[in-house]
């Protein structure tokens, strides 16, 4: 790919998926300074990656793969000492006092963010892509898990979200 094409692909990617990248880094890094650094790393990684983009997959898949891989590597480096949980464990955990989410969207979003930040990859990737409204096939292509495994994870995510957010909102 020529340098002009690389720039053009990057511009297009940012115009279409820039907002999703902003949401993604919020879910991966709580510290604002480190979040800014992570977002910069993702943008640089994305621009560099487009030198090798030859339409092997859709641009959306390419962008999400690069962003999630860089973010997951960041989390792996940063969170070696912090305990992460799986979706299975999340289903079994009590709702917890930090998930008092019946009051307002800001708190609900904060609680959702806190919950996502406890997850390790690839569960975190799956839930974030689910929230971005991607279907199981698209998520499978990005994360590299079998579609069946992704479908199972989405089923669990739905159950966890319903239990943690819907029931409290209703009550």
């Amino acid at each position: 790919m020529t340098s002009a094409n690389q720039d053009e692909s990057y511009r297009l990617a940012v115009s279409e998926h820039g907002a999703a990248l902003g949401r993604l880094v919020r879910a991966y890094e709580a510290d604002p300074e480190l979040r800014r650094d992570l977002l910069q790393d993702i943008h640089i990684g994305l621009w560099r990656s487009f030198a090798g983009f030859k339409g092997q997959c859709s641009m959306r898949t390419w962008v999400y793969r690069v962003a999630h891989n860089i973010a997951a590597s960041h989390v792996t480096r940063r969170m070696r000492m912090r305990k992460q949980v799986s979706l299975d464990m999340l289903e079994e955990l009590p709702d917890g006092e930090n998930l008092e989410v019946s009051t307002g969207e800001k708190q609900k979003l904060e609680a959702l963010m806190a919950m996502i930040q406890t997850l390790g990859p690839p569960d975190r990737q799956v839930i974030l892509l689910y929230l971005e409204d991607l279907d199981a096939a698209a998520i499978s292509e990005i994360v590299g898990l079998k579609p069946g495994a992704v479908a199972t994870k989405i089923h669990r995510i739905k159950a966890v979200l319903a239990r943690r957010f819907h029931e409290r909102s209703v009550s």
Partner: protein, 186 residues
């Protein structure tokens, strides 16, 4: 109801504006500069140590210490060449970051495991003969004759503890990485 959560998620405010393209190019260039500087630092460190041990050959009269110094110089040159040769393999190429996460992560883990596994062959191992000969030469040379046996024992024990410790840490690291690779099914 999950659609509400999705809507809430997608409507949230994000705080950072995208970086201008010129800034991206500049920072990508800085990344390459960092890699170049890291290599230069490693070559400079090797050159400095070659000078030091070259000085030892001239300074110390004991044949074993001189031989040890020469062996260490050869090892340092070999390590510098290996660093240069392996430089390209130190990081995955940029487009590799667009692999599916499981593939990307597996490749990264395999790369780290292989680097750790082979470090004895090209980094630590070549240093051992020179260091052993040099330390033995120093042990035979410096203390009074009556304590030579003890000094040699101490030197050998020290070498075994240090290199054994590094070996044990390496082996532990390799096992840990292999477990992660196995968990991914690779």
């Amino acid at each position: 109801m999950n659609d509400d959560i999705k809507t809430l998620w997608r409507n949230q405010q994000t705080e950072y504006a995208p970086m201008p393209l010129d800034e991206i190019r500049k920072r990508a260039g800085q990344f390459h500069s960092r890699v170049c500087w890291r290599n230069i630092r490693e070559y400079a460190a090797s050159a400095f140590l070659v000078c030091i041990f070259g000085f030892y050959i001239w300074l110390f009269p004991a044949p074993l210490m001189r031989l040890g110094s020469a062996l260490i110089i050869v090892a340092l040159l070999y390590v510098a060449w290996q660093l240069h040769r392996r430089g390209a393999a130190m990081a995955l190429p940029a487009e590799a970051s667009a692999s599916a996460w499981t593939d990307y992560y597996r490749r990264e883990l395999v790369r780290q495991r292989d680097a750790l596994q082979s470090i004895w062959k090209w980094y630590l191992g070549p240093m051992v003969p020179g260091l052993v000969v040099f330390l033995l030469g120093a042990a035979l040379q410096t203390p009074p004759a009556a304590h030579k046996q003890e000094w040699i024992s101490i030197t050998i024990t020290f070498g075994i503890v240090v290199f054994g410790g590094v070996w044990a840490l390496n082996a532990w690291g390799v096992r840990k990485l292999q477990r992660k690779i196995d968990e991914l099914g690779g």
